[in-house]
């Protein structure tokens, strides 16, 4: 019987059914659930790696050793793993190796909307793009066969609307492939110049063979309808195109986006009067068609930015869109914000109060940039807070050292903060780094990491001691504060910024959403004591609002963290 299944879960099911044995990933929206779901199968070894580069190298090792392997990441994670990827293209694999990269057109939870197809093209690695859950499952299985047959890692590109949509799938049994014993092969696996020079022509020959395959393969298909309009599309854009045009257009659905099928495209173009390319983000198929000498419509009418939808495609291609009504007034926005009781809030309040310049990083705490705290002033990529702080202080010296800090979460610190910290220790800037240790990877939905002491299955695992690590790097000033204690935070920030050497403050308290965290009873407002000074409102806590000139506590949200009590000079907030 068919089941309704999340795209990422279906992908995970495909990995399981294909006999994948080793999985190593780093979480990142919208890719995370692939690994979380496959970890539920006891037959598959799964782990969270400290970052995507490590994950891909683990998958490489497992593949060479002879087991089918997988690593998953979001689009920006593939930048981190680009180093192994580009040379993995040369070494090829032993047992099949599949990589998931999940793009986020529309930036629902990302810092940019880069198009991962460029990585596939540049690394000369085949890329598949499913357009629903059923394809996610089937493509994952077939990707292993492709990987082994063509001796290459295979990338499957998901996007938010495929990863986080549920559609119907039919599951099958797990079939373990025959064992592929490891054999020493220095010419294939040791990429020093003399060997790599001989591997490069093999890569080019492989691409030629894959291009020939692409013209007649499972992944690409033609659905002929009216021939007045021909559409070349793939991924979620295929669904929007079908929704708008049904069989009023002919469609070439591209399921293998690298390499593209030259002959199939030319044959399709010859059968239709007009050719339109519908693809989110960059004009990859469009430019390919133009290079083939075809006249096409694409980014001249459709946007490069954001995600597509049925109405957007209809409107841009001259099809009527449904009527709708509007209230005709501007409504206040509802941006995401730190949760009630979030341990980051007290620390950000302290930084804001001390008028610190804060270089931020990637995680829930990026929301420290949102008013009223508005404390974070830069966010670039994983780890950039620490390295950026070093550069900031090297540029400005004493002018910035006493008031500038980096903030980075525990998981992000493990991902790529340690190398930046090593740079501060080595090249000696008087920098203060704050590690926001909430004992979990928060934003992506609570994944374990090397500092938490638990593995992906929730079993006890190795635990890295942050204090000892910082001290071993040469930091003499390492201190731990409780972010629920504003006085303690204030003292630590003032003292460490004043100190004449580099320092690390670890702001430590578990994420308030963790199941084991006990909440206090909600606070209440003593109405006659509240003078309406709005001091508590400076925290930007969603449990606090202001009605009839008095503070009000939402007792469904308040967890009794007590941070607001410390700001109230009139004892109006009571436990």
């Amino acid at each position: 019987m068919k089941q309704l299944m999340l795209g990422n879960k279906a992908f995970a099911r495909g990995l399981y059914e294909a006999g994948c044995s080793v999985v190593s990933s780093y979480p990142g929206t919208p890719s995370t659930e692939v690994t979380e779901e496959v970890a539920k199968y006891d037959e598959v070894y799964c782990e969270w790696a400290p970052n995507e580069k490590v994950a891909m190298e683990v998958a490489f090792g497992a593949s060479v050793a002879g087991k089918r392997s997988f690593c998953g990441m979001k689009h920006v994670g593939l930048n981190v793993a680009a180093d192994p990827l580009y040379t993995l293209s040369y070494t090829g694999v032993n047992a099949g190796m599949v990589i998931c990269v999940a793009d986020d057109a529309g930036m629902h939870s990302s810092q940019n909307e880069q198009d991962s197809r460029h990585h596939a093209i540049a690394s000369k690695v085949p890329m598949l793009e499913p357009s629903d859950s059923e394809e996610a499952l089937e493509f994952a299985k077939r990707a292993f066969e492709l990987s082994e047959e063509y001796d290459t890692p295979v990338i499957i590109k998901m996007c938010t609307r495929v990863a986080h949509s549920q559609s119907l799938v039919e599951t099958g049994e797990r079939i373990l492939p025959p064992v592929k014993p490891y054999e020493k092969n220095i010419a294939k696996y040791v990429m020093m110049p003399g060997n790599a020079i001989r591997r490069h022509p093999i890569v080019e020959e492989r691409t030629r063979k894959l291009t020939a395959l692409a013209n007649d393969c499972y992944f690409n298909r033609v659905e002929m309808g009216d021939t007045g309009l021909g559409i070349i599309t793939g991924s979620t854009s295929y669904q929007y195109a079908k929704e708008v045009f049904g069989d009023k257009a002919s469609i070439l659905k591209i399921g293998m986006s690298n390499p593209l099928p030259d002959q199939l495209i030319l044959d399709f173009a010859a059968k239709v009067d007009k050719l339109v390319i519908i693809e989110e983000l960059d004009p990859v198929i469009e430019n390919h068609c133009k290079a083939l000498g075809l006249e096409v419509t694409g980014k001249d009418v459709l946007p490069m930015e954001g995600e597509y939808s049925q109405n957007l495609i209809a409107e841009k291609l001259g099809v009527e869109v449904p009527k709708s009504l509007s209230l005709g007034e501007a409504l206040p926005g509802r941006p995401p914000m730190m949760c009630a009781g979030c341990p980051h809030r007290g620390l950000f309040y302290t930084l804001s109060k001390n008028k610190c310049t804060v270089l931020g990083d990637i995680g829930c705490y990026t929301l420290g940039a949102v008013p009223p705290l508005a404390a974070i002033e830069t966010t670039l990529c994983m780890g950039a807070s620490i390295s950026g702080l070093h550069g900031f202080n090297k540029a400005l010296g004493k002018e910035s050292e006493g008031k500038t800090v980096a903030v980075i979460g525990d998981s992000t610190f493990m991902h790529s903060g340690m190398t930046g910290l090593a740079n501060i220790a080595y090249n000696q800037s008087n920098s203060t780094v704050i590690i926001l240790d909430n004992s979990i990877t928060g934003m992506t939905g609570h994944q374990q990491n090397p500092t938490t002491g638990y593995n992906i299955k929730g079993d006890p695992a190795g635990k890295i001691d942050l204090e000892a690590l910082c001290k071993a790097m040469g930091f003499h000033r390492v201190r731990v504060v409780d972010p629920y204690n504003l006085a303690e935070c204030d003292q630590a920030v003032k003292e460490e910024l004043a100190a004449d050497e580099a320092s690390v403050i670890i702001s430590r308290r578990p994420c308030v959403l963790l199941k084991y965290v006990k909440h206090n009873p909600p606070l209440h407002v003593e109405k006659d004591k509240c003078v309406g000074c709005r001091s508590c409102m400076r925290l930007g806590c969603p449990a606090l609002s202001f009605r009839d000139k008095k503070a009000v506590v939402d007792d469904t949200l308040c967890v009794g963290c007590g941070v607001c009590q410390q700001l109230c000079r009139f004892d109006a907030l009571q436990s």
């Binding site: 309704l4 999340l6 941006p335 409102m537």
Partner: protein, 188 residues
Amino acid sequence: MTKNIMIVGVGGQGSLLASKLLGYLLLTEGYDVKVSEVHGMSQRGGSVVTYVRFGDKVYSPIIDKGEADFIVSFEQLEAARYIDYLRPDGRVVVNTQQIDPMPVITGAASYPENLIGKMKDLGLNVDAMDCLSLANEAGSAKAVNIVLMGRLSRYFDIPVDKWKKAIEDCVPEKFRELNLKAFDLGRA
């Protein structure tokens, strides 16, 4: 013909259970179903949208402006925010609860007044009720999602015992009784 239900609310209010329930129910009714959710940053107290689509064959996983047959809203302002997604003959099922967004908390904006009335003035079908009180009556403020499902069920030709069977299959055993009560209170 594809039918569209949009579930809107504030991150953390439990819209994922509502969409899970609807997806499960509509699948057992024999429809092709697609459900699209939002994970990650928006879930942190932000405005969240879930799309549920069903019919003979569903292509797009999302609902666009002017397409929704139903908007099920956990909160007044969120219903108003997405009202242009409703078909002019569609229906809004809305919890009258108000949750201040950050611009209101900081004083940069005020919570708009009479949103339910303004939606009715557009000639739309608006079914507004205090789901939070009913959820508390059922035993937990968290059951707002199932109260709303109870209300929504009035507009479907699906027998009530099938809705209840779906609840029994989708929620953990220890919350079954509470949720069935919440469903009855919403439907009544």
